[in-house]
Symmetry: C2
Subunit: 482 residues, 2 copies
């Protein structure tokens, strides 16, 4: 039996938290005399009422949550945030139509950053702020998920990061809660630092607040249609690159900071691999630009670095139309879509550690071909790689590939062209944001797609953000049995 | 130490075999008074001389071949067939330029079927025959490789099919040789049957001979520019479908036939999965055609079936331009490129058993998520799935994906568009033949590509045909050490 009563009860505080945070754009709407004040109040009241209903639905003693309940709880948390987060868009009429409102909301809460809005520069501040806040909320959600829930659920090889704090037994729960509070403190701290840094290099307060939230969540929503091309500032781009990277490394690494100790970011193999791979691609594209587009080395490096880091960390800011750099660049950015950041960060994608595990297996395989009888020990991140983890990663990769394939085929059946369908499916599943092609490319947006296409992309964004299996198991009959 | 002397010596008979087979088009050229007679004689003499040099290069006692020698022997075998097989194209001037000659030869020997030739209908019969024969030679080569060498080399999970006959120790060698001779007999028998069937449904003798060779090798070269659209005959297409499928199931299944016993094709799980997946895709495309192109159910099914089987079995015949069926069809055929047939057949691609293993891991993973403590036994094809095999399949999949990615990026850097680069890399690696897009699509060919693109595609075809690792290990420094 699923412990519905407990699941509902736990969803209450999450919904209430959303209602409380919604008071902020509400306040902004009031302060700026925005026509969105009433829509925001409506949304907030509905959210708060729903939260209370959930919390009052508790009957008798709460039962201990088991693994299955965690799947349901996690998925429902995101659905609630997506659903109630969409209300301001629905009520305010800023967003045309219900489908668009939901798309924008799902894209925000999953930190994808694909948008159906144009004319961002003219939008009311409250709506812009709410979009950014939704990404920020999604960001901390995913950090919590990666630290506590996913390793416990053994999803997609995340068992590799199973520690005491990801043991959700009664005994370990206070410890887990303590860790989560610390991660929240880190997240807030980094966001504030990011905001201050943006202001220091010339962003105005409102832009800095919004972009710090969408940077730290690797979400990628901007307050300008032109995204980072609007600022055209090397300093601002450097700050963005620094904090996008900071948001893509495991947040656990930051914990010693709270105790006033130094942290050793580069000691982590995942971080080194991530930075190394981003650097190689940046250099490759720089050479490409210099050799084929007669661009100066400095500006080529700047443009390559910003956009590579933005797409690979699954943020999705854009400083220039990199699809105009020729097919080589298009292909590079298409493959970059999949990479992602580190586990336990806000970044999406397939993630660096899975590639590391796959490459360990590849190396082991080649060694075994040459020395059939050799005993080969395998480890990643200083941990022995169990067969269970290898199997999980394989299952995850297959599920990821199949999901991208099926979504791409549905998008194609909906009348989208090859590149839009394929890169749309990839960018949704990896929670990146921009796709490739005329309609969903870096200088375009998702508004022109059909409603059907938008709904399937919403599903893809949720599937990708919840590491596929959290959502997938809910769709198996076995889950609901017993 | 690599046993160069033994490797050279064993390459001798293979080269000599090629020289002997080259006498057939030689004879045809003589009989038809073709201007290609001299070119064929030149090629044949050169090949024969090289064979003798190899066989005479033996010094002292032959040393026992070890695993490493097998990698070298296998790769060199294909290189020799590709190299000397290209000579008639070079000398005859039918094929414009050295690069084109090599491309056509590699495409033939790897049973890919991508061509740079147009005006096939007007070409001399000797050259057409040699192209088909090269595919046929490549076909039996891959059957032998799959039966004896690859399971022994433990490549890409082929260890799953390790039997007594794939044990290349001195003791088992006579047994292995016996098995290989029987497989050859089956291959010849099926080819003759295919030829007879083609003639029975209306093909002329020459077309039937050529197409039977390129059907049984799942190669896909035709004697007509229009491929199977030239015949426009349901009966001929049905024969082709039957024998393409027959060529894509494990040849070991046919062995009882030689002892006069019945065979049970559908008892094999791999065969069932293959037929099932092809059928599903065919039905899907049929519905698509009926619903969106107002086509009759019968003709839609016929067109879908023929082209799905042709692409999925990595043959590459074309009966109509399926890329004109809309993006959904393009996407479907793009993904079909990867699937391939069964292990131990002439088909290429990733192959059904690897997908089966991956899906077993996926199912196991989902079960483990729901029942963390359950003991789950895993098996495929009635064999327990060892962790070594799972690891090999994972390594293979990664190597395949990376190879397609890198080749696609090089093709893109060479100035090809996104779809040409991506589908070109896939169709080469999977040894299918036609790609997607204006320049390399089903109704087009590879002539227009740059020389650089053709060379990288040649590399891709060889890499794919040799199950990646056979060639890849030769590129590691560790292979040449000691």
């Amino acid at each position: 039996m699923i412990a519905f009563s407990s699941v509902n009860f736990l969803l209450g505080p999450i919904t209430l938290g959303l209602a409380v945070l919604m008071l902020i754009p509400c306040g902004v709407a009031w302060y700026t005399d925005s026509p969105d004040l009433i829509p925001f109040i409506k949304s907030d009241v509905l959210t708060a009422v729903f939260a209370l209903v959930l919390m009052l639905s508790r009957r008798g003693k709460l039962s201990q949550l088991r693994v299955r309940d965690m799947f349901l709880l996690t998925t429902l948390s995101w659905l609630i945030v997506c659903g109630f987060g969409a209300l301001p868009f629905v009520f305010s009429h800023t967003v045309a139509g219900f489908t668009n409102a939901v798309f924008e909301s799902v894209s925000a809460a999953t930190t994808t950053g694909a948008t159906i809005l144009t004319g961002l520069d003219e939008l009311p501040k409250d709506i812009l702020l709410w979009r950014s806040m939704m990404q920020w909320i999604g960001g901390i959600g995913i950090v919590a998920l990666g630290a506590a829930v996913l390793p416990f659920l053994r999803i997609g090889g995340m068992r590799l990061f199973h520690t005491e704090s990801s043991d959700l037994s009664d005994k370990a729960l206070p410890h887990t809660r303590r860790i989560l509070m610390r991660l929240l403190a880190i997240y807030v701290g980094l966001s504030v630092a990011c905001c201050a840094a943006y202001m220091a290099v010339g962003m105005n307060f409102f832009d800095a607040v919004n972009h710090s939230m969408t940077t730290m969540s690797t979400g990628g929503f901007s307050t300008h249609d032109a995204s980072f091309a609007y600022f055209d500032s090397t300093a601002i781009e450097l700050v963005a690159v620094f904090f996008m990277l900071a948001a893509s490394i495991p947040f656990m690494i930051y914990l010693p900071l709270l105790a006033g100790k130094a942290i050793h970011v580069f000691d982590d193999g995942q971080v080194r691999s991530m930075l190394g791979s981003y650097f190689i691609v940046t250099v490759l594209l720089t050479f490409w630009l210099v050799l084929t587009h007669q661009q100066g080395g400095g500006s080529a490096f700047r443009e390559s670095m910003f956009n590579v880091v933005s797409i690979a960390t699954t943020t999705g800011y854009v400083s220039t139309d990199y699809t105009a750099w020729g097919t080589f660049s298009i292909m590079t950015f298409f493959f970059l879509t999949y990479i992602g950041g580190c586990s336990g960060s806000t970044a999406g994608g397939i993630k660096i550690f899975r590639f590391k595990i796959a490459f360990v297996m590849l190396r082991e395989n080649i060694q075994r071909l040459l020395h059939p009888n050799a005993v080969i020990s395998r480890s990643v991140q200083g941990r022995v790689l169990s067969d269970e983890i290898v199997g999980s990663v394989m299952a995850f990769s297959l599920a990821f590939a199949c999901s991208v394939g099926v979504i791409a085929m549905i998008l194609a059946a909906n009348g989208n062209d090859f590149m839009t369908s394929f890169s749309g499916a990839a960018t949704a599943m990896a929670n990146v944001g921009p796709g490739i092609g005329d309609s969903i490319g870096p200088v375009s947006n998702f508004a022109a797609l059909s409603d059907g296409s938008k709904w399937i992309l919403c599903f893809g964004m949720l599937l990708g953000r919840l590491e596929i299996f959290t959502l997938l198991v809910l769709l198996t009959p076995a889950f609901w049995r017993i």
